[in-house]
């Protein structure tokens, strides 16, 4: 079977150190890659432009949720049939993508979500593990989805699935928002085991546990606001 048009969306903020190798690996696997430069202060945009299929640059920093939405809009405009979100800090593996894509097609799902609990996570600190467990409990309780890992940056959507995502949370609360949208859409979703490699770099770039409070605030404000 021929492969459908797969677009990988890499939101990047000050990732000049890793973006080239991450995107080059994706390109080696024959994926279209759109890097969304979220108003970086470093050379992310120029580095990405040498390897990516396309680079879309926010004029100001808006947050990862906003960058994902911009990337999704761009990929949809380019006729993407399957959209994959992939962190730019090198914690995901390109070889996990075919499994997500295959799961979407073979099981006729619209969302395939990477799970490091079904798969593996290397060098994950204990605090991060506790934090993710709490976040998973919270999301399962609020959305009713049956998931083992709710805050994994590696996901795949069909075109129909991507259109169903509203993504109005600009900052980190988008991970919960995506799941809420999946629950509201009623479309089929499934989890696929993936490997997440924690490096010193990705841990420094990633969320801090204290961001959890801001995420809860964002989600609460979203409820009040229209």
């Amino acid at each position: 079977m021929q492969r459908p048009a797969v677009w990988v969306i890499c939101p990047a903020f000050n990732e000049a150190a890793t973006i080239a190798s991450v995107v080059a690996e994706l390109r080696r696997c024959q994926y279209n890659v759109v890097v969304v430069d979220d108003g970086s202060n470093d050379a992310t945009r120029h580095v990405a432009a040498t390897v990516a299929t396309a680079v879309v640059a926010h004029p100001v920093n808006l947050g990862q949720g906003a960058a994902l939405k911009t990337g999704i809009d761009y990929a949809l405009s380019q006729g993407a049939e399957i959209l994959v979100t992939f962190d730019a800090d090198g914690q995901h593996r390109a070889e996990d993508i075919p499994r997500l894509v295959r799961a979407l097609i073979e099981q006729r799902a619209d969302f395939a979500l990477g799970s490091r609990r079904l798969g593996q996570s290397r060098n994950m600190p204990f605090v991060r593990r506790v934090f993710l467990f709490a976040a998973t409990l919270f999301t399962v309780a609020t959305t009713g989805l049956c998931l083992t890992d709710t805050h994994n940056g590696l996901r795949a959507f069909t075109r129909r699935g991507a259109v169903a995502l509203s993504l109005r949370q600009n900052r980190m609360a988008h991970a919960s928002e995506i799941l809420a949208d999946i629950a509201a859409s009623g479309l089929r979703y499934l989890e696929v085991p993936v490997t997440v490699d924690y490096t010193r770099y990705s841990l420094a770039k990633g969320q801090r546990t204290s961001d959890f409070v801001m995420i809860l605030l964002d989600l609460f404000a979203r409820k009040l606001h229209r």
Binding site: M1, Q2, A5, A52, T53, V55, A57, L62, Y74, E81
Partner: protein, 134 residues
Amino acid sequence: MIAQAILSLLLCSVLIYAWAEYRRSPVVALMSLVASLVGLYFIWIPSHTTRVAEFIGIGRGADLVMYLWICISLIVLLNLHLKLRSQHEVITALARAIALANADSATEGAPLRSTKHETAKPATPLARDASYKE
């Protein structure tokens, strides 16, 4: 008497603001209207604050006014926060439109790029797959 005059002047300007704001957001206007009217009432008949305070179980009238003030401030803060959020959504939409309009897909040495010229070529490995389409 001096304090009463100054406070009344301030609250009257709030009344005028409420009247001007009514068309834009009636809820905010009505809330400020009620707040300033209650304020005027308490300024001119301060003994009533004590009576109301005692009735609902707060010691002094001044305390009652302070608690009310804290509540009103919090509501105003929340309202401002929501307004900021909606403004930020507008900025996001604007920034996204700019980003998409200036999308840079002229990557050199990228055989799989899908610019307008190349989408017509079905031979690339990323071309649509008819069998995938349901």
